[in-house]
């Protein structure tokens, strides 16, 4: 039972990071219908930038402030980067065949990884532990302060995003653009600005997730964005792509499935399948859910594009 509780905690932590990244995927998809394959790389850039910043300011400031400054700088750099990517690689292709921006997104993903390799060298770098590393015991299971931070920050971010989307003018413009760009434009919304704003917000969420990811696992590297990117995309589809709440539900569900699956798959199959098979769990659940509900768990409209 203790293991079960522990795996739930791990799953929630993992899931909330997936959720942050999945939100970026889902917002972009909801508005321009693009699978932004470079999104995981924005997470990677955020994490590496924060690593560099921490290297500079760690001796000067108290640890929590170091983390905060690193987080803010990472978010700003990621936002500027994603804004540029959208302007350069996606906007010119807005009216092209659908697969064209998909290919530029893949190209961008490779390009960012390559540039990161040139700037930061290809080796793994250890990410400093800034919060106390002593785990806190919690009813038989343990949780580290970093994990608590991840859960709290994600919850606050989600609340903030929900307010942004449902309570502000920009949010209304975003929803209107996602519904119908042309009609939104007739109502005085500037679709291009809204799309840029979406990319900026998505990048900040990804950078946030990147810093959390790096703090949790303790290493950063140029290829670190790939797996979270793919998993977050899976989570977004699982929840119903284009749907914000769906991305959160999908992300947390995927995190829980993975960690509980990893904890029990060995026992369940008598040792035939090990925890290496964890990815199969995630994708198998995805296939089952999509077979039963082709538009994802919370998705309403059938994706009739592509």
């Amino acid at each position: 039972m203790d293991i079960f509780f522990q795996q739930i905690i791990n799953g929630l932590v993992l899931g909330s990071m997936y959720a942050l990244v999945a939100l970026g995927y889902t917002m972009v998809y909801g508005i321009i219908g693009l699978i932004n394959f470079a999104h995981g790389e924005v997470l990677m850039v955020g994490a590496l930038v924060s690593w560099t910043v921490i290297g500079f300011i760690q001796p000067l400031l108290p640890p929590w402030l170091v983390l905060l400054v690193a987080l803010v700088v990472a978010c700003l750099v990621a936002a500027a980067l994603n804004y540029t990517i959208e302007r350069v690689a996606y906007r010119p292709l807005r009216n092209s065949p659908r697969l064209a921006p998909l290919i530029t997104a893949i190209g961008m993903s490779i390009l960012l990884q390559t540039l990161a390799m040139i700037i930061w060298k290809p080796n793994y770098k250890s990410y400093p532990t800034l919060l106390p590393s002593e785990p806190i015991s919690l009813g038989g299971a343990s949780i580290t302060p970093t994990q608590i931070m991840i859960l709290v920050v994600t919850a606050l971010t989600l609340a903030g995003l929900m307010w942004l989307v449902h309570g502000t003018k920009l949010g209304r413009a975003m929803r209107a653009t996602a519904e119908n760009q042309r009609v939104a434009a007739l109502m005085g919304v500037k679709p291009n600005n809204v799309i840029s704003a979406t990319f900026v917000i998505g990048a900040m969420l990804a950078a946030l997730a990147g810093v959390m990811w790096a703090s949790n696992y303790g290493t950063v590297q140029h290829a670190m964005g790939f797996i979270p990117g793919i998993k977050a995309f899976t989570a977004a589809v699982l929840g119903g792509i284009g749907n914000l709440a769906g991305a959160v539900v999908g992300g947390i569900l995927l995190g829980l499935i993975e960690s509980i699956g990893a904890g029990y798959i060995g026992d369940l199959t008598g040792g035939v399948l090990g925890s290496h098979y964890v990815d199969i769990f995630a994708f198998a659940v995805l296939i089952v859910v999509l077979t039963l509900r082709p538009s994802g768990l919370l998705g309403e409209r059938i994706a009739d594009r592509a």
């Binding site: 290919i103 040139i118 009739d304």
Partner: protein
Amino acid sequence: MNFSQMTTRQRLLGILLAAVGLLVLPILLQGFGSAWVRIADMALLFVLLALGLNIVVGYAGLLDLGFVAFFAVGAYMFGLLASPHLSDSFPAFAAMFPNGVHMPLWVAIPLGAAIAGIFGILLGAPTLKLRGDYLAIVTLGFGEIIRVFMNNLDHPYNITNGPKGISQIDPIHFFGFSLGQRWDFFGYTVTPVVMYYYLFLALVLVSVVICHRLELSRIGRAWMAIREDETAAKAMGINTRNMKLLAFAMGATFGGVSGAMFAAFQGFISPESFSLMESIMIVAMVVLGGIGHLPGVVLGAVLLASLPEMLRYVAGPLQAITDGRLDSSILRQLLIALAMIIIMLLRPRGLWPSPEHGKSRKTAEGKNKASAQGSAA
């Protein structure tokens, strides 16, 4: 560049020149070393793969991001049937085949192709209801599932030998004629890479003919109808379920055959060769060249498969100039990424697009530009 506008004589001349060029190419390349012929061989294998994926994505409009899975299935099937691995790890096989399993070509390749085709149907069946990007993620997941199995099926029963891969795979050989050794023809020595070149070239030509015939057939027309508008296609009496399954199965069969060829050519396979990146590169070949258009697909595959290898040779001097800061593999990747982005920005329909593709969507877009997020794949 428009083929159909040429006169029959010009066309015939073009075909003749291309044929002579393709036949002489390996002999010319051999002059620079076997490595260059190898590049040509791999390029042809990727052309075969891209032709297979083109059936699924280009004709039927089903975005498949896990195509490399079928390549892997074909390669592993051939690898298991033509190497000592099964006999080494299973006493039962050792009893039956004391010298290792060495199935003849006529068993191994059709079996590899058939199993890949079955996997294609297995993938297709649960995804029939899905469209577009939902399909993309499921196929991506399917590819990953296959890769995880390849990586981990080495215990408790050692079937795939895990990350270590399967080695000592037999080369292609038929009627006592093996492509794995040098042969002398009229005093001229032909190396294995050159022989494989001709084998792969023959396979590519056969595939191009098959694809071309498919494109013009009722089946091809049905696929394109599904691609342009599935609901309308269904209303016109097309059995969309069977047609989609057929597209998956046919595409997968191409993948399986090229996988078997790859295994025989390399003599060694491991899960590393079948990563998601490979799938993505195959999609990129099809899209960069000109989706659904055979000459375009061939062009895209040749470019993306051979350019990175050629850049390897250019990269050396550049690396020296930049004091080793730009590693050759990094530079290669950088240039591929830039090529993908720039080509798409300049020619969003691909380098050599089909003159007809997406026509019906275009008119629909004109009427309702607001909701059109660009036309179909």
